[in-house]
Amino acid sequence: MCSRVPLPRVPDKGSVTRRGFAVLRVAIYEEPWVFAFSVAASMLYGAMTVADGWALGWATDHVIRPALERGDTTFGAVASLVSLFLGIAILRAIGVVGRRIGAGVMQFRLQATYRRRVTRQYQKLPLEWHHQHPTGQLLSNANADVESAWYPIAPLPMAVGVIAMLAFATAAMFAADVWMALVGCLIFPLVFVANVIFQRTLQPLATRAQELRADVSEVAHESFDGALVVKTLGREAAETERFTQPTNALRDANIAVNKARGMFDPVIDGLPRVGILAVLLVGVGRVRSGQADAGDVVQVAFLFTLIGFPIRALGWVLGELPRSVVGWDRVQRVLTASGGLEYGEEKLTSTGAARLDVTGIRFGYLPERDVLAGVDFTIEPGRTVAMVGPTGSGKSTMTTMLTRLVDPEEGAIKVDGIDLRSLARGELADSVALVAQTAFLFDDTIRGNITLGGDYPDELVWDALRIAQGDGFVKNLPSGLDTKVGERGTTLSGGQRQRIALARALVRRPRLLVLDDATSAVDPQVEARILAGLRSAVQGERAETTVLVIAYRKATISLADEVLFLDEGRIAAQGTHLELQEKSPEYRELVDAYEKDAERRQEEAELAAELDDLDSEGASA
């Protein structure tokens, strides 16, 4: 980032305005040169605006009036008039362009810088941190919050220029006439104060409207997502009623915003006009007493016209400060969050199937309750092992540890005898692949989603898809592997997404493959084919892959050479499926749940049939 003096600190406490100015100081510190440039341009603009007024006064007294009084003029006088006004206009235009471009460059550069920092932080912070924050919040931290933190940057150079402009104008007015200048000293502060009051009144109203917009959107999202339930229960009218409430509240909030605007706008617009009338009145008196010229009156009046609008920029900056501070605080919460995994230097050099040693793993999401309480097991290279356990027994947590998304609180996980924590960054991913239950696909082509930017020829991609039983549907997509995921008409079903995620793992020929219920959304028939394909692929001539699969379905479990039964945070039993069924009643109960259910139905049906028979017998008797 920067090797200069550390960033200015934004105080944690204090008034919004004070903290807001501190945020502005950070902005200036981050982009000092762009800021200097745009402020210089803005000051040029301010000076030229005042010069416009001065030029008119000068021209009135020195060119126009004499000419009109004499009934004659010279070429030189007219030429100086034209070149004066054109020159000022051109310089002013340069100032405007420079100020606007400078402000834009500064605002968008700051946005980009902070977006980069926030997203880097997202990549660095541990998965647990991610789980503690809703997705929507994280996305808006990187987008809307960064944007609002730097909102006041857009009008900032103009505001600084306006301050300069006011200084020049005051000087020019005093040079013209003290009394008229005093009118200015009364009116300009009033315009400024009116602006600040306006912005401060408007802010909460605008914020409320913004919140209500979010409410409206939330109801619409929810109601449309649950459309099937709404429709099948005939609740359309009630849903419309539910939508009407925030909609009408938003309507009223918008009307309130407009009322505030309607109230203040005429005041802010009108004040400089009232000022001009006052200047005319005072000016005529001063001219009569011979202490001012007509040109002075014209100059001051014209200045009022020119400055009336730009002075609003001060209000814009001050008005945006509260929003900016909120955005800044939200962004800082991400940037100052600590955590992240440390990496070692070791490499995994072996080429065949991996060996996995898990010893004494302890882990809990809540302090008082361990999810895993001392898990020990070993998987020999090339074996396929199923892990079975009731919901909440920590199976998924186990898989996230194997891929080092999370570190255990106690104990060690070793691949080929090397502790995962001592491996170099990125080293593990070359050997271990995890396929989770919910398949995440990137906004990319099917190919990109499988290769993830890796260098895999198409044949390998197709091979992986074939084993994952995804080659068929991918071939039928409009552009095959080049089809973009999520584009219109190519929305994929849950099962199809899972198959792409599986192919993503397979194409890497991992030495340890971890499947966390990765085929749950696939039709049972298709799942059977995937499992068969996987079995022959990973256990061909030379087994090159060790497989750990989390499974519910019996067919999935049957793929395994061995079964680990995880219960109450420990490996409760270990052995082949048949062995476990023999020796562990809990295991038997779990895997037999489906069958039991089917049997129960059977019994009930038989019972019902008997009752029917009894009924008919009774009836015939």
């Binding site: 060119v63 004659d72 008039l81 070359d430």
Partner: protein, 598 residues
Amino acid sequence: MSAAEATRLDHGDDVGGMETLRQGLRVSPELARGWLVTGLLALTMTGGRIVIPIAVQQTIDKGLTGAGGPDMSYVAWMCLLCMGGILVTAFASYLTTVRLATNSERGLATMRIKAFRHVHDLPVLTQSTERRGALVSRVTSDVDTVSQFLQFGGFIFLVSLGQMFLATIVMFVYSWQLALVVLVCFLPLFASLRYLQRKMSAAYGVVRAKVGEMLSAIAEPVVGAQVVRAYAIEKRTQERIDASIDDYRRTATRAQAITGITFSIGGLAAGLANAGVLTAGVLLGVDRQATLGEILAFMFLVALFSDPVQIATQVLTDAQSAFAGWRRVLGVIATPADVVDPGADGVVQRRGPITVEFSDVDFAYPEGDLVLRDVDVRLEPHRRVAVVGETGSGKTTFAKLLTRLMDPTSGAVLIDGVDARSIAFSSLRERVVMVPQDGYLFDSTLADNVRFGRPDVSDAELLDAFESLGLTDWLESLPDGLMSPVGQRGESLSAGERQLVALVRANIADPDLLVLDEATSAVDPGTEVRVNAALERLMSGRTSVTIAHRLSTAEAADEVLVFDQGRIVERGPHADLVSAGGVYTHLHASWIAQRSAP
């Protein structure tokens, strides 16, 4: 959904501005309320803007350089008059803003609600999940764009136009020659306005597209945190993000530069006009054809002229997108609903045992092949029917026709002998209830969710409904019982628990015909047993049709309907079909292979 409908939902009808206005007024009549008074007020409000140039001219010509030297009392009276004018103007301005805002916001709220209600009648909402986001935009951001435009651009622009018009008139009254000079000086700006505006629109169009790309890139390490880490593609992900962030920065800066240049051109034109007016004014004044006051008043008039021209480019760009948004919302409202409630004319049926008959039913999606053909079947009351078939065999379509989520292309679905299309929705939805695969839950309490179909039932009745499905122990295991929050989409509950809630919800609705779309996704065995027990109790005493994905369901049914390529190819009890050697025998065999693997 047909291609034409898709276009309409995305872009609105391709009609001209006047037609959109007509449609818009029909949907929101509030927009035109009291327009005459508002118009007069707006005119008064703009009138106030030309007070100052006139005051300047009067002061200089009559007050300062008049025959008898500076005339204090004349100026004082005139200033007082102008002051009154400014006050009236300010008041008119307040009234105009409030009236316009109130009417337009009321009109937009009406339109928003109408669109929302109508979307629920559109088949696309339940047929294609990927279009839902777009439909949400129709009732949210599209309407917001119109509202924001009216707030920030619309009023100002209207007033500015009036201001320019009045300024032009005053200029011609003072001096037609100087007025022409001003117009000529602004001519290049007018000529380039359209071009600049188009460039600006295009630039902001690119910016919007880049924002979208940036957002989806930023979402990757957040939504896909696990994959990004597990595959160690942090670097690639960050590169994609950085590239998109930079792309956005570049295009946004460019758009800003174009805006800056456009604004400065307005200032340049004003400078040119000032120089022109002063030069021409001096030349005219020398011939006594213009007074000093008139010449100087022009300087103030030019200022009135240049501001609107400068903001026009920006406002026109906003206006375009606001208009497009408005047209899209109106397009949604104009899209015909294909399943229509017969309303007051509808038949209201008596509750009780229900018979359903499909009479020669065909179904095809618009511009698509038939997905259901020649379906002719009668389901007797109190029967338990399972519908089986491969994916795409038409079994889901069958269920949707049964519940009237869609209407047949030809043929009819009869309920107790009455065409479903002529039964009032309120009656039909009471008798026939579908439990979808994923029982969607709203972000509220458990109680609110189960009484969704009938908000008036008491807590005691709710508890009975849990009890009768054998779920009291489960309910008691939840920390806050009925008041437990379920989270967004019910995510605080497991998939199996969500199914339980959906079943209780159906139990509360108490339909005569229950249509179940059996869940395919894995539920842990413990909950599975519970779900099945609850289902069993829910179905008893009712007619039920289940889209079966599991063998056990088909086995337990009184009757199995086997679908293949849109037809019912076999029908009968499980025991008969399993040995018939047909489609069902084949399906059954693969189920068995799946279930009884060693």
